[in-house]
């Protein structure tokens, strides 16, 4: 990991404005803080897993990275180039390098297009000079790579199963040979055996093409299987970031500990005697998050000083945690 990071994110904030019901136009507008200060480095060929419960801002983070939602503040540097200052045309060039795989395999494919057209769409957009035969050849090669028979090129998405649809989505994302692929819960809509196939496919393609992956999931064991490093998010903040093995073996942040203890263990004897560390209370509203550490309202080891200052990631880069009480 001595190379330069290809993606540097610094203090990224994504806020959504909420319309207030107040009659006065000068009333302060509310903002939903979906992502509130996330920083990370991503190295070439690396897989970064992002985990956290529903509504913690994982997907919004991914969408902000690829420019589908507007970021409020911070910086995203792609190979040294600031993405947040790019205009429409600048983004278009970046799209060749950063692609995305979506959560719902069927919904991410246009039902009126054949899968050949779907996979070829990025090619047609970026290389309009390619003739029909070249496009078809490239599409067929890509289909072979993701494990689809090339003779189904003229079929429509509704004629495929969920796992096959996700393979089509992967083929579309990879046909431009990007450097980074953002996977937004790519396997959560699939059943377990298909999940394994798709994850292993992603892994082998990553090795073959030298991709970096940002892999978002709420299934901790899938993330453990695929990730080099893992980032844990809670309410738009990162609470822990570290190498997968270290983080899974020794979770430090109280939230990560609770999250890890909820993972079922495939052994009934251990599972029966296991104590799950339950968190008190509910997820606070991201419109009005707690002051200081956002986790303090549910934290078993919180003290009064936690309300004062927002903790930042501390510790060595191998395993950093945003909690002064355990770092």
């Amino acid at each position: 990991m001595s190379t330069q990071p290809i993606l540097q994110v610094r203090d990224l904030k994504v806020h959504f404005d909420i319309k207030t019901s107040s009659l006065w136009p000068w009333a302060p507008s509310l903002a939903l803080k979906a992502v509130d200060g996330v920083s990370l480095d991503l190295y070439p060929g690396e897989t970064l897993g992002v985990v956290g419960e529903s509504g913690c801002g994982k997907s919004t983070f991914a969408r902000a990275l690829i420019g589908l939602v507007k970021s409020r503040a911070g910086s995203i540097k792609w190979q040294g180039q600031e993405l947040l200052e790019l205009d429409h045309h600048g983004w278009r060039e970046i799209r060749k390098d950063i692609q995305m795989i979506f959560q719902d395999p069927l919904a991410s494919l246009n039902p009126r297009m054949t899968i050949g057209d779907i996979i070829a769409e990025p090619l047609r957009t970026f290389y309009p000079r390619l003739n029909k035969q070249e496009v078809t050849d490239k599409v067929k090669t890509m289909m072979m790579k993701v494990g689809l028979l090339p003779n189904v090129i003229n079929r429509y998405p509704h004629e495929f199963s969920g796992g096959q649809c996700q393979r089509i989505g992967i083929a579309r994302a990879l046909i431009l040979e990007p450097k980074l692929v953002i996977c937004d819960e790519p396997v959560s809509a699939l059943d377990v055996s298909i999940q394994a196939q798709v994850v292993n496919l992603l892994k082998s393609l990553q090795k073959e093409m030298g991709l970096s992956l940002i892999f978002i999931a709420h299934d901790l064991s899938v993330v453990k299987h695929i990730s080099d490093r893992v980032m844990v998010m809670y309410l738009g903040n990162q609470v822990e970031l570290g190498q997968g093995k270290a983080l899974y073996a020794d979770p430090k942040h109280p939230y990560t500990k609770a999250l890890m203890s909820a993972v079922p263990i495939p052994d009934p004897d251990i599972e029966r005697n296991k104590t799950i560390q339950l968190l008190e209370g509910d997820l606070p509203s991201p419109i009005n998050p707690p002051s200081g550490c956002v986790f303090r309202t549910r934290c078993p080891i919180a003290v009064a000083s936690c309300a004062e200052q927002r903790p930042t990631l501390q510790g060595e880069p191998r395993h950093a945690v945003a909690c002064p009480r355990v770092a």
Binding site: W91, R95, A107, P111, M113, E121, P150, R155
Partner: protein
């Protein structure tokens, strides 16, 4: 393993067959599925055939008669239908052949209907898709413009046009064209708004597809189902509208005619010469029924979940 040997052999043979299969498998698109469902709908198919017959008759049938639509047969004023004289549907009070007049009137009526629907499809779909997809201030502006047009009293508009420019069928086309796309634009905008948040649109964004290409390649094909259904149901309402205008005397200019104008004349002599009312009315009613059945059939075929 539970599977016995011959079974697994068969499976592996099948697998190699699949691998080696050189022919590309043709997929069946949603359109093809819809066509198959439509073909199985008896009422819709019968209506479609009847409709084709009526349209063909209107287009070419007038050549079958011995008369043109403005020929006056001085020997046969207001005579009842009879084959010997060549007046299959009888004549009107001026001795003009009703068979030819009904078919020529049908040309005008159908043209108004189809043209209105066509304008609605082209302008309405693009306008609605653009407003819905671009959103924000553009959307507000486009929709307010549409509401202003929609709030314009339509009858007043037509009467104004007719008084200024005289009676002309072109004016009817313009008037109908100006209003027919408004509802269509609203429907398409609503559909676009729901499509906009779908993941395949986001995927197209990520692939760098331009806004115009997203609208034409992704949005329009997906709203086309609803557009087609609505357009089929729009045709009869346009025909009725033209009939209404012609009945009021705002439509076509004599000696040209339309179904509405024929109905108007026929209703005056209903008691003495009922055929003058019944033949055009029969054609009009059949056409309207057929369009509605075809529209229903299309809706069922394109949207099997909504039954």
């Amino acid at each position: 393993m539970i599977t016995n040997k011959p079974n697994s052999e068969a499976v592996s043979r099948f697998a190699t067959q699949l691998q080696e299969a050189p022919a590309e498998v043709e997929g069946r698109s949603l359109w093809q599925d819809a066509r198959r469902r439509f073909m199985h709908n008896k009422a819709a198919m019968i209506s479609l055939i009847t409709l084709s017959v009526i349209i063909l008759l209107c287009l070419f049938g007038s050549q079958l008669g011995d008369f043109t639509y403005d020929d006056i047969d001085w020997n046969a004023m207001q005579i009842a239908p009879d084959t010997a004289s060549g007046h299959f549907f009888g004549t009107d009070s001026l001795g003009r052949d009703l068979f030819v007049r009904t078919l020529v009137g049908g040309q005008i009526s159908l043209m108004v209907g189809v043209l209105g629907a066509l304008v609605a499809i082209v302008i309405g779909t693009l306008y609605g898709a653009m407003a819905g997809f671009i959103g924000g201030r553009t959307d507000s502006f486009m929709m307010r413009t549409l509401e202003i047009l929609n709030s314009f009293p339509f009858m007043f508009f037509v009467i104004l046009l007719v008084t200024f420019f005289g009676r002309n069928i072109m004016l009817i086309f313009i008037a109908i064209g100006a209003v027919s796309w408004l509802d269509m634009a609203r429907i398409v905008r609503g559909q676009t708004l729901s499509l906009k948040s779908k993941e395949f649109i986001e995927a197209a964004h990520v692939c760098g597809v331009s806004t115009w290409a997203i609208i034409t390649r992704h949005i329009v094909p997906n709203v086309l189902g609803i557009v087609v259904v609505y357009a089929t149901l729009l045709v009869p309402s346009m025909i009725l509208f033209e009939s209404f205008l012609s009945y009021l005397g705002l439509g076509v200019q004599e000696p040209m005619t339309s179904w509405g104008a024929l109905l108007n004349e026929g209703s005056k002599t209903m008691e003495v010469a009922p055929w003058q009312l019944l033949f055009p009315a029969g054609f009009l009613v059949t056409t309207l029924f057929c369009f509605n059945f075809v529209g229903d059939g299309l809706r069922d075929a394109l949207d099997p979940k909504d039954r």
